[in-house]
């Protein structure tokens, strides 16, 4: 089962305040643990929303707005993608992450192709998605 662990933004991440060198070492160690356990699919940090944009879709039209965006706690600052047995294991890993006081992680399951029935999605679409995922979504190895 694949899970996304979302790191919520805060005033610091939005201000472009980088983690301290010590914090980066701790994060590196945690990432190595994930890789060693064979669960790490990916992990990234995001640049602040001031470097981003938002597209809104309504009735066939798009509107583009540049960042920054308010409400840091609704924004994301980073994420991991994990391949684990179940939600409990994903939450267990999230609890171990080297986060500071007040940090929040959101654990969300990623859909698998098997979530969708033939009624909901055409056979051809499912086949293509499955093929691509089999080729591309594999845990990182040391």
């Amino acid at each position: 089962m694949r899970f996304m662990i979302i790191v919520k933004a805060n005033a610091d991440s939005e201000a472009g305040v980088m983690p301290s060198p010590d914090a980066m070492v701790e994060m590196g160690k945690f990432n190595e643990e994930l890789i060693k356990a064979g669960v790490m699919l990916g992990g990234e940090g995001l640049a602040a929303s001031s470097q981003g944009a938002k597209v809104r879709f309504q009735g066939g039209k798009t509107t583009v707005v540049d960042g920054p965006f308010a409400e840091a706690k609704e924004l994301i600052a980073g994420f991991w993608l994990l391949d684990v047995k179940d939600k409990a294991e994903a939450v267990a890993w999230a609890r171990k992450a080297p986060m500071g006081d007040g940090a929040e992680l959101e654990v969300r399951r990623a859909h698998d192709v098997s979530d969708f029935t033939e009624d909901e999605v055409s056979t051809e679409t499912l086949r293509k998605e499955r093929e691509w995922r089999d080729a591309n979504q594999k845990p990182m190895r040391n």
């Binding site: 597209v55 994301i76 993608l81 940090a103 654990v107 009624d119 998605e129 591309n136």
Partner: protein, 140 residues
């Protein structure tokens, strides 16, 4: 640069909108266009927040709260990670997403090794570079 296109919706969206078979087909075509252009690195759709949890840090140990998180104004519904020249190119790709129902897609730059160079030891930087290649090396 790598950009992340993040689908955001409010906590009530999952109850209001259920994608049709037609919508899936159209999205499948869009995903294929990203592959055909050689820009797609990763994508995922997320299951509803009712299957999720939030972990908050502070105090002696983290606390865990199960979803759903219907009061949120911006839940993550899914994402694509694409390889592009700049934000303008990422925005152009985002505008082509076949959404119609008031969805929002946030486009953000993914941090790169260069962003951390002043605060990572050289061997850690090398390790990070190697991981980045492995994470997305086998796309398309």
């Amino acid at each position: 640069m790598r950009a992340m296109m993040i689908v955001k919706y409010d906590g009530g969206f999952e109850q209001r909108v259920k994608p049709s078979r037609e919508a899936f087909a159209v999205m499948g075509k869009y995903n294929q266009s990203l592959r055909d252009a050689g820009v797609l690195l990763a994508l995922d759709g997320l299951a509803p927040s009712s299957e999720g949890a939030r972990v908050t840090f502070g105090g002696s140990k983290p606390t865990v709260k199960d979803g759903p998180f219907t009061e949120s104004t911006e839940l993550v519904g899914g994402f694509w990670i694409i390889q592009v020249r700049n934000m303008d190119e990422a925005i152009e790709w985002a505008k082509r997403i076949p959404f119609m129902n008031g969805e929002s897609v946030e486009i953000r730059r993914l941090a790169e090794v260069a962003d951390f160079a002043d605060r990572m030891e050289p061997d850690h930087l090398e390790r990070r570079k190697a991981l980045e290649t492995e994470m997305y090396g086998k796309s398309n």
